[in-house]
Symmetry: none
Subunit: 227 residues, 2 copies
Protein backbone atom coordinates (compact mmCIF):
# COMPACT_ATOMS: atom_id res chain seq x y z
CA UNK A 1 0.00 0.00 0.00
CA UNK A 2 2.50 2.61 1.19
CA UNK A 3 0.41 5.69 0.54
CA UNK A 4 2.11 9.02 0.81
CA UNK A 5 0.70 11.78 2.96
CA UNK A 6 2.14 15.27 2.83
CA UNK A 7 2.36 17.35 5.98
CA UNK A 8 2.59 21.12 5.64
CA UNK A 9 3.24 22.48 9.09
CA UNK A 10 5.86 24.93 10.29
CA UNK A 11 6.26 23.76 13.86
CA UNK A 12 8.75 20.92 13.82
CA UNK A 13 7.55 19.13 16.98
CA UNK A 14 4.01 18.85 15.73
CA UNK A 15 5.26 17.76 12.36
CA UNK A 16 7.35 15.04 13.87
CA UNK A 17 4.48 13.79 15.92
CA UNK A 18 2.36 13.57 12.81
CA UNK A 19 5.11 11.73 11.00
CA UNK A 20 5.35 9.28 13.83
CA UNK A 21 1.62 8.58 13.90
CA UNK A 22 1.37 8.24 10.15
CA UNK A 23 4.30 5.87 9.84
CA UNK A 24 2.99 3.86 12.73
CA UNK A 25 -0.13 3.34 10.65
CA UNK A 26 1.59 2.30 7.48
CA UNK A 27 1.66 5.57 5.61
CA UNK A 28 4.69 7.26 4.19
CA UNK A 29 4.99 10.76 5.61
CA UNK A 30 6.41 13.67 3.63
CA UNK A 31 7.37 16.77 5.55
CA UNK A 32 7.27 20.40 4.55
CA UNK A 33 7.70 23.41 6.77
CA UNK A 34 6.37 25.81 4.18
CA UNK A 35 4.45 25.90 0.96
CA UNK A 36 7.71 26.27 -0.89
CA UNK A 37 9.16 23.14 0.59
CA UNK A 38 5.93 21.37 -0.16
CA UNK A 39 6.34 21.97 -3.88
CA UNK A 40 9.08 19.41 -4.26
CA UNK A 41 6.70 16.73 -3.01
CA UNK A 42 3.93 17.77 -5.34
CA UNK A 43 5.19 15.80 -8.28
CA UNK A 44 4.34 12.36 -9.53
CA UNK A 45 3.65 10.18 -7.75
CA UNK A 46 1.57 12.68 -5.91
CA UNK A 47 0.53 12.18 -2.26
CA UNK A 48 -2.92 10.76 -1.58
CA UNK A 49 -3.74 13.34 1.06
CA UNK A 50 -2.42 16.59 2.51
CA UNK A 51 -2.43 17.67 6.13
CA UNK A 52 -2.30 21.44 6.06
CA UNK A 53 -1.71 23.71 9.00
CA UNK A 54 -3.93 26.71 9.05
CA UNK A 55 -1.42 29.11 10.56
CA UNK A 56 1.72 29.33 8.54
CA UNK A 57 4.22 32.16 8.82
CA UNK A 58 4.35 33.33 5.22
CA UNK A 59 1.41 32.22 3.13
CA UNK A 60 -1.91 31.55 4.80
CA UNK A 61 -3.49 28.14 4.71
CA UNK A 62 -6.36 29.49 2.72
CA UNK A 63 -4.10 30.58 -0.08
CA UNK A 64 -2.28 27.29 -0.13
CA UNK A 65 -5.50 25.34 -0.26
CA UNK A 66 -6.73 27.56 -3.02
CA UNK A 67 -3.68 27.13 -5.16
CA UNK A 68 -3.64 23.41 -4.52
CA UNK A 69 -7.19 23.19 -5.72
CA UNK A 70 -6.20 24.96 -8.91
CA UNK A 71 -3.19 22.94 -10.00
CA UNK A 72 -4.12 20.11 -12.31
CA UNK A 73 -1.87 17.70 -10.54
CA UNK A 74 -3.05 18.57 -7.07
CA UNK A 75 -6.67 19.56 -7.43
CA UNK A 76 -7.96 16.13 -6.59
CA UNK A 77 -5.84 15.60 -3.51
CA UNK A 78 -8.03 15.81 -0.42
CA UNK A 79 -6.93 18.29 2.23
CA UNK A 80 -7.39 18.10 5.96
CA UNK A 81 -6.92 21.41 7.69
CA UNK A 82 -5.27 21.62 11.08
CA UNK A 83 -6.51 24.54 13.12
CA UNK A 84 -5.92 25.72 16.65
CA UNK A 85 -8.82 25.77 19.01
CA UNK A 86 -11.06 28.77 18.72
CA UNK A 87 -10.47 29.38 15.05
CA UNK A 88 -13.94 28.13 14.43
CA UNK A 89 -14.81 30.55 11.72
CA UNK A 90 -11.79 29.49 9.75
CA UNK A 91 -13.53 26.20 9.36
CA UNK A 92 -16.11 27.82 7.20
CA UNK A 93 -13.55 29.48 5.02
CA UNK A 94 -11.53 26.33 4.83
CA UNK A 95 -14.38 24.23 3.62
CA UNK A 96 -15.30 26.90 1.13
CA UNK A 97 -11.84 26.89 -0.32
CA UNK A 98 -11.93 23.19 -0.78
CA UNK A 99 -10.63 21.54 2.35
CA UNK A 100 -12.23 18.15 2.77
CA UNK A 101 -12.18 18.10 6.51
CA UNK A 102 -10.64 19.97 9.35
CA UNK A 103 -9.32 19.05 12.71
CA UNK A 104 -8.81 21.11 15.83
CA UNK A 105 -5.50 20.84 17.64
CA UNK A 106 -4.79 19.08 19.84
CA UNK A 107 -6.12 15.77 18.62
CA UNK A 108 -5.49 12.14 19.40
CA UNK A 109 -3.72 9.76 17.03
CA UNK A 110 -6.93 7.84 16.86
CA UNK A 111 -8.87 10.85 15.70
CA UNK A 112 -6.24 11.69 13.15
CA UNK A 113 -6.27 8.26 11.61
CA UNK A 114 -10.03 8.04 11.69
CA UNK A 115 -10.39 11.30 9.82
CA UNK A 116 -7.76 10.41 7.29
CA UNK A 117 -9.42 7.13 6.55
CA UNK A 118 -12.85 8.71 6.39
CA UNK A 119 -11.69 11.33 3.92
CA UNK A 120 -9.92 8.81 1.75
CA UNK A 121 -12.98 6.63 1.77
CA UNK A 122 -15.19 9.53 0.83
CA UNK A 123 -12.94 10.67 -1.98
CA UNK A 124 -12.45 7.28 -3.59
CA UNK A 125 -15.91 5.84 -3.74
CA UNK A 126 -15.92 2.19 -4.48
CA UNK A 127 -16.05 1.58 -8.20
CA UNK A 128 -19.36 0.85 -9.85
CA UNK A 129 -19.86 -2.63 -8.56
CA UNK A 130 -21.97 -4.33 -11.11
CA UNK A 131 -23.00 -7.91 -11.01
CA UNK A 132 -21.34 -10.12 -13.57
CA UNK A 133 -22.93 -13.08 -15.29
CA UNK A 134 -21.54 -15.85 -17.42
CA UNK A 135 -23.21 -19.08 -18.42
CA UNK A 136 -25.12 -19.67 -15.23
CA UNK A 137 -22.60 -18.11 -12.90
CA UNK A 138 -23.71 -14.90 -11.28
CA UNK A 139 -21.31 -12.91 -9.15
CA UNK A 140 -22.63 -9.89 -7.30
CA UNK A 141 -19.97 -7.73 -5.67
CA UNK A 142 -22.56 -5.70 -3.80
CA UNK A 143 -24.03 -8.53 -1.79
CA UNK A 144 -20.82 -10.47 -2.19
CA UNK A 145 -22.67 -13.52 -3.38
CA UNK A 146 -22.05 -16.08 -6.07
CA UNK A 147 -24.65 -18.41 -7.52
CA UNK A 148 -24.27 -21.18 -10.03
CA UNK A 149 -27.54 -22.04 -11.71
CA UNK A 150 -29.23 -20.13 -8.91
CA UNK A 151 -27.63 -22.25 -6.26
CA UNK A 152 -25.58 -20.37 -3.73
CA UNK A 153 -21.90 -21.16 -3.68
CA UNK A 154 -19.52 -20.53 -0.80
CA UNK A 155 -16.21 -18.94 -1.71
CA UNK A 156 -13.32 -17.75 0.36
CA UNK A 157 -12.10 -14.19 -0.17
CA UNK A 158 -9.33 -15.13 -2.57
CA UNK A 159 -11.53 -17.48 -4.53
CA UNK A 160 -14.07 -14.69 -4.79
CA UNK A 161 -11.56 -12.18 -6.09
CA UNK A 162 -10.11 -14.70 -8.49
CA UNK A 163 -13.49 -15.54 -9.95
CA UNK A 164 -14.40 -11.87 -10.16
CA UNK A 165 -11.22 -11.14 -12.04
CA UNK A 166 -11.79 -13.99 -14.44
CA UNK A 167 -15.39 -13.05 -15.11
CA UNK A 168 -14.47 -9.46 -15.83
CA UNK A 169 -11.56 -10.51 -18.05
CA UNK A 170 -12.79 -13.46 -20.06
CA UNK A 171 -11.26 -15.10 -23.13
CA UNK A 172 -7.74 -14.18 -22.24
CA UNK A 173 -4.88 -16.19 -20.90
CA UNK A 174 -3.21 -15.00 -17.74
CA UNK A 175 0.09 -16.29 -16.48
CA UNK A 176 0.45 -17.19 -12.85
CA UNK A 177 2.46 -14.05 -12.27
CA UNK A 178 -0.21 -11.92 -13.84
CA UNK A 179 -2.88 -13.53 -11.73
CA UNK A 180 -0.81 -12.94 -8.64
CA UNK A 181 -0.50 -9.28 -9.56
CA UNK A 182 -4.16 -8.79 -10.29
CA UNK A 183 -5.81 -10.96 -7.70
CA UNK A 184 -3.35 -11.14 -4.86
CA UNK A 185 -2.05 -7.64 -5.41
CA UNK A 186 1.39 -6.42 -6.23
CA UNK A 187 4.24 -6.85 -3.80
CA UNK A 188 2.90 -10.07 -2.41
CA UNK A 189 5.50 -12.74 -2.13
CA UNK A 190 3.95 -16.12 -2.76
CA UNK A 191 4.88 -19.09 -4.90
CA UNK A 192 3.59 -19.27 -8.44
CA UNK A 193 2.20 -22.67 -7.67
CA UNK A 194 -0.12 -21.20 -5.12
CA UNK A 195 -2.22 -20.09 -8.05
CA UNK A 196 -2.71 -23.69 -9.08
CA UNK A 197 -4.05 -24.52 -5.68
CA UNK A 198 -6.49 -21.61 -5.58
CA UNK A 199 -7.63 -22.50 -9.07
CA UNK A 200 -8.34 -25.98 -7.91
CA UNK A 201 -10.28 -24.71 -4.89
CA UNK A 202 -12.30 -22.40 -7.07
CA UNK A 203 -13.04 -25.17 -9.57
CA UNK A 204 -14.17 -27.47 -6.82
CA UNK A 205 -16.37 -24.79 -5.32
CA UNK A 206 -18.29 -23.88 -8.47
CA UNK A 207 -18.93 -27.47 -9.57
CA UNK A 208 -19.83 -28.45 -13.10
CA UNK A 209 -19.33 -25.04 -14.64
CA UNK A 210 -15.64 -25.23 -13.79
CA UNK A 211 -14.99 -26.14 -17.40
CA UNK A 212 -14.95 -22.43 -17.94
CA UNK A 213 -11.74 -22.15 -15.99
CA UNK A 214 -9.34 -23.56 -18.50
CA UNK A 215 -5.74 -24.59 -18.16
CA UNK A 216 -3.53 -23.34 -20.94
CA UNK A 217 -0.51 -25.50 -20.72
CA UNK A 218 2.72 -23.58 -20.57
CA UNK A 219 0.93 -20.25 -20.36
CA UNK A 220 -1.48 -20.08 -17.47
CA UNK A 221 -5.24 -20.01 -17.14
CA UNK A 222 -8.18 -18.64 -19.03
CA UNK A 223 -11.85 -18.05 -18.31
CA UNK A 224 -14.11 -18.66 -21.26
CA UNK A 225 -17.51 -20.04 -22.15
CA UNK A 226 -16.22 -21.94 -25.14
CA UNK A 227 -13.54 -24.56 -24.76
Amino acid sequence: MMNKILIIEDEAPIREMLVFILEQNGYQALEAGSFEEAQRHLVEPVPVLILLDWMLPDVSGIQIAKSLKQGDLTKHIPIIMLTAKGEEEDKIKGLEVGADDYMTKPFSPKELMARIKAVLRRVAPTAIEEAVEADGIILDPVSHRVTVHNKLVELGPTEFRLLHFFMTHPDRVYSREQLLDHVWGTNVYVEDRTVDVQIRRLRKAIGEVNTMIQTVRGSGYRFSKTT
Copy 2:
Protein backbone atom coordinates in the same frame (compact mmCIF):
# COMPACT_ATOMS: atom_id res chain seq x y z
CA MET B 1 -24.33 17.21 9.23
CA MET B 2 -22.56 17.64 5.91
CA ASN B 3 -25.29 16.43 3.59
CA LYS B 4 -24.24 15.68 0.08
CA ILE B 5 -26.07 17.06 -2.90
CA LEU B 6 -25.27 15.84 -6.35
CA ILE B 7 -25.33 18.22 -9.29
CA ILE B 8 -25.75 16.78 -12.76
CA GLU B 9 -25.26 19.63 -15.19
CA ASP B 10 -23.08 19.88 -18.25
CA GLU B 11 -22.42 23.61 -18.27
CA ALA B 12 -19.47 24.22 -15.97
CA PRO B 13 -20.29 27.85 -15.03
CA ILE B 14 -23.75 26.99 -13.85
CA ARG B 15 -22.40 24.00 -12.02
CA GLU B 16 -19.84 26.07 -10.22
CA MET B 17 -22.40 28.59 -9.20
CA LEU B 18 -24.53 25.83 -7.75
CA VAL B 19 -21.55 24.42 -5.90
CA PHE B 20 -20.83 27.80 -4.44
CA ILE B 21 -24.37 28.34 -3.25
CA LEU B 22 -24.65 24.87 -1.79
CA GLU B 23 -21.38 25.01 0.08
CA GLN B 24 -22.25 28.44 1.33
CA ASN B 25 -25.25 26.82 2.91
CA GLY B 26 -23.43 23.98 4.55
CA TYR B 27 -23.97 21.27 2.01
CA GLN B 28 -21.31 19.20 0.38
CA ALA B 29 -21.62 19.55 -3.38
CA LEU B 30 -20.77 16.75 -5.77
CA GLU B 31 -20.32 17.63 -9.40
CA ALA B 32 -21.04 15.64 -12.49
CA GLY B 33 -21.09 16.82 -16.09
CA SER B 34 -22.86 13.76 -17.34
CA PHE B 35 -24.82 10.79 -16.15
CA GLU B 36 -21.73 8.69 -16.43
CA GLU B 37 -19.74 10.93 -14.18
CA ALA B 38 -22.63 10.95 -11.78
CA GLN B 39 -22.39 7.19 -11.31
CA ARG B 40 -19.29 7.37 -9.20
CA HIS B 41 -21.14 9.50 -6.69
CA LEU B 42 -24.10 7.18 -6.57
CA VAL B 43 -22.58 4.82 -4.06
CA GLU B 44 -22.81 4.70 -0.31
CA PRO B 45 -23.09 7.08 1.31
CA VAL B 46 -25.57 8.28 -1.22
CA PRO B 47 -26.43 11.99 -1.70
CA VAL B 48 -29.56 13.30 -0.02
CA LEU B 49 -30.74 15.14 -3.10
CA ILE B 50 -29.98 15.48 -6.78
CA LEU B 51 -30.10 18.62 -8.89
CA LEU B 52 -30.62 17.46 -12.43
CA ASP B 53 -30.34 19.55 -15.53
CA TRP B 54 -33.04 18.89 -18.03
CA MET B 55 -30.96 19.45 -21.12
CA LEU B 56 -27.93 17.24 -21.22
CA PRO B 57 -25.96 16.49 -24.37
CA ASP B 58 -26.11 12.70 -24.40
CA VAL B 59 -28.87 11.23 -22.26
CA SER B 60 -32.01 13.25 -21.62
CA GLY B 61 -32.98 14.27 -18.13
CA ILE B 62 -36.08 12.17 -18.33
CA GLN B 63 -34.09 9.04 -18.89
CA ILE B 64 -31.74 9.83 -16.07
CA ALA B 65 -34.57 10.48 -13.68
CA LYS B 66 -36.21 7.27 -14.73
CA SER B 67 -33.17 5.14 -14.17
CA LEU B 68 -32.48 6.84 -10.86
CA LYS B 69 -35.97 5.96 -9.71
CA GLN B 70 -35.34 2.35 -10.59
CA GLY B 71 -32.05 1.72 -8.83
CA ASP B 72 -32.50 0.37 -5.32
CA LEU B 73 -29.86 2.63 -3.96
CA THR B 74 -31.09 5.75 -5.64
CA LYS B 75 -34.85 5.39 -5.87
CA HIS B 76 -35.48 7.31 -2.67
CA ILE B 77 -33.27 10.26 -3.50
CA PRO B 78 -35.39 13.29 -4.29
CA ILE B 79 -34.70 15.03 -7.58
CA ILE B 80 -35.05 18.68 -8.45
CA MET B 81 -35.12 19.34 -12.17
CA LEU B 82 -33.46 22.40 -13.63
CA THR B 83 -35.12 23.60 -16.81
CA ALA B 84 -34.63 26.55 -19.07
CA LYS B 85 -37.43 29.03 -19.36
CA GLY B 86 -40.20 28.05 -21.68
CA GLU B 87 -39.79 24.33 -21.34
CA GLU B 88 -43.02 24.28 -19.46
CA GLU B 89 -44.30 21.05 -20.81
CA ASP B 90 -41.18 19.30 -19.65
CA LYS B 91 -42.35 20.03 -16.18
CA ILE B 92 -45.23 17.67 -16.66
CA LYS B 93 -43.04 14.93 -17.96
CA GLY B 94 -40.52 15.51 -15.24
CA LEU B 95 -43.01 15.20 -12.46
CA GLU B 96 -44.43 12.12 -14.09
CA VAL B 97 -41.10 10.44 -14.12
CA GLY B 98 -40.53 11.10 -10.47
CA ALA B 99 -38.89 14.46 -10.08
CA ASP B 100 -39.88 15.99 -6.76
CA ASP B 101 -39.75 19.57 -7.86
CA TYR B 102 -38.55 21.63 -10.73
CA MET B 103 -37.01 25.02 -11.10
CA THR B 104 -36.73 27.36 -14.04
CA LYS B 105 -33.38 28.90 -14.82
CA PRO B 106 -32.35 31.49 -13.94
CA PHE B 107 -33.11 31.38 -10.26
CA SER B 108 -31.82 33.11 -7.16
CA PRO B 109 -29.76 31.40 -4.48
CA LYS B 110 -32.59 32.07 -2.12
CA GLU B 111 -35.07 30.27 -4.29
CA LEU B 112 -32.71 27.36 -4.77
CA MET B 113 -32.17 26.87 -1.08
CA ALA B 114 -35.81 27.29 -0.31
CA ARG B 115 -36.80 24.58 -2.73
CA ILE B 116 -34.09 22.25 -1.57
CA LYS B 117 -35.15 22.61 2.02
CA ALA B 118 -38.78 22.19 1.13
CA VAL B 119 -38.13 19.01 -0.77
CA LEU B 120 -35.94 17.59 1.98
CA ARG B 121 -38.54 18.43 4.57
CA ARG B 122 -41.22 16.77 2.52
CA VAL B 123 -39.19 13.65 1.89
CA ALA B 124 -37.45 13.12 5.20
CA PRO B 125 -40.34 12.03 7.37
CA THR B 126 -41.61 9.27 5.14
CA ALA B 127 -38.17 7.89 4.56
CA ILE B 128 -37.08 7.87 8.15
CA GLU B 129 -40.21 7.24 10.14
CA GLU B 130 -41.52 4.25 8.37
CA ALA B 131 -41.61 0.90 10.08
CA VAL B 132 -39.48 -1.78 8.52
CA GLU B 133 -40.24 -5.48 8.38
CA ALA B 134 -38.18 -8.48 7.44
CA ASP B 135 -38.94 -12.11 8.05
CA GLY B 136 -40.58 -11.74 11.41
CA ILE B 137 -38.58 -8.78 12.58
CA ILE B 138 -40.51 -5.55 12.85
CA LEU B 139 -38.74 -2.34 13.67
CA ASP B 140 -40.78 0.77 14.23
CA PRO B 141 -38.74 3.97 14.44
CA VAL B 142 -41.69 5.96 15.70
CA SER B 143 -42.37 3.94 18.82
CA HIS B 144 -38.74 2.87 18.86
CA ARG B 145 -39.79 -0.72 19.29
CA VAL B 146 -38.59 -3.98 17.86
CA THR B 147 -40.47 -7.23 17.81
CA VAL B 148 -39.36 -10.64 16.65
CA HIS B 149 -42.30 -12.89 15.86
CA ASN B 150 -44.44 -10.45 17.78
CA LYS B 151 -42.36 -10.76 20.88
CA LEU B 152 -40.85 -7.54 22.11
CA VAL B 153 -37.11 -7.35 22.09
CA GLU B 154 -34.96 -5.02 24.16
CA LEU B 155 -32.20 -3.25 22.28
CA GLY B 156 -29.68 -0.66 23.31
CA PRO B 157 -29.48 2.52 21.25
CA THR B 158 -26.57 1.38 19.12
CA GLU B 159 -28.08 -2.03 18.58
CA PHE B 160 -31.26 -0.33 17.47
CA ARG B 161 -29.54 1.94 14.99
CA LEU B 162 -27.46 -0.93 13.68
CA LEU B 163 -30.50 -3.10 13.10
CA HIS B 164 -32.35 -0.21 11.52
CA PHE B 165 -29.51 0.44 9.15
CA PHE B 166 -29.28 -3.22 8.21
CA MET B 167 -33.01 -3.55 7.65
CA THR B 168 -33.09 -0.50 5.42
CA HIS B 169 -30.03 -1.67 3.48
CA PRO B 170 -30.44 -5.39 3.00
CA ASP B 171 -28.49 -7.71 0.73
CA ARG B 172 -25.40 -5.59 0.76
CA VAL B 173 -22.08 -6.16 2.38
CA TYR B 174 -20.80 -3.38 4.60
CA SER B 175 -17.28 -3.19 5.87
CA ARG B 176 -16.70 -2.39 9.51
CA GLU B 177 -15.58 1.08 8.53
CA GLN B 178 -18.71 1.67 6.51
CA LEU B 179 -20.85 0.53 9.39
CA LEU B 180 -19.01 2.89 11.68
CA ASP B 181 -19.69 5.71 9.24
CA HIS B 182 -23.36 4.92 8.90
CA VAL B 183 -24.37 3.74 12.33
CA TRP B 184 -21.96 5.38 14.70
CA GLY B 185 -21.66 8.50 12.60
CA THR B 186 -18.66 10.25 11.18
CA ASN B 187 -16.22 11.85 13.55
CA VAL B 188 -16.57 9.11 16.07
CA TYR B 189 -13.35 7.35 16.67
CA VAL B 190 -13.69 3.80 17.76
CA GLU B 191 -11.92 0.59 16.86
CA ASP B 192 -13.09 -1.42 13.90
CA ARG B 193 -13.47 -4.41 16.14
CA THR B 194 -16.10 -2.65 18.16
CA VAL B 195 -18.43 -3.47 15.32
CA ASP B 196 -17.91 -7.16 15.93
CA VAL B 197 -18.96 -6.78 19.50
CA GLN B 198 -22.11 -4.83 18.71
CA ILE B 199 -22.96 -7.36 16.05
CA ARG B 200 -22.67 -10.08 18.61
CA ARG B 201 -24.88 -8.18 21.04
CA LEU B 202 -27.47 -7.58 18.38
CA ARG B 203 -27.41 -11.22 17.34
CA LYS B 204 -27.85 -12.36 20.89
CA ALA B 205 -30.72 -9.94 21.44
CA ILE B 206 -32.82 -10.92 18.44
CA GLY B 207 -32.50 -14.66 18.97
CA GLU B 208 -33.08 -17.23 16.25
CA VAL B 209 -33.56 -14.77 13.45
CA ASN B 210 -29.96 -13.68 13.85
CA THR B 211 -29.10 -15.86 10.87
CA MET B 212 -30.08 -12.83 8.87
CA ILE B 213 -27.07 -10.98 10.16
CA GLN B 214 -24.38 -12.68 8.16
CA THR B 215 -20.65 -12.57 8.43
CA VAL B 216 -18.89 -12.14 5.12
CA ARG B 217 -15.34 -13.10 5.80
CA GLY B 218 -12.78 -10.63 4.71
CA SER B 219 -15.44 -8.08 3.81
CA GLY B 220 -17.76 -7.28 6.66
CA TYR B 221 -21.39 -8.03 7.45
CA ARG B 222 -24.61 -8.37 5.52
CA PHE B 223 -28.29 -8.42 6.37
CA SER B 224 -30.35 -10.75 4.25
CA LYS B 225 -33.27 -13.13 4.41
CA THR B 226 -31.54 -15.73 2.31
CA THR B 227 -28.40 -17.32 3.54
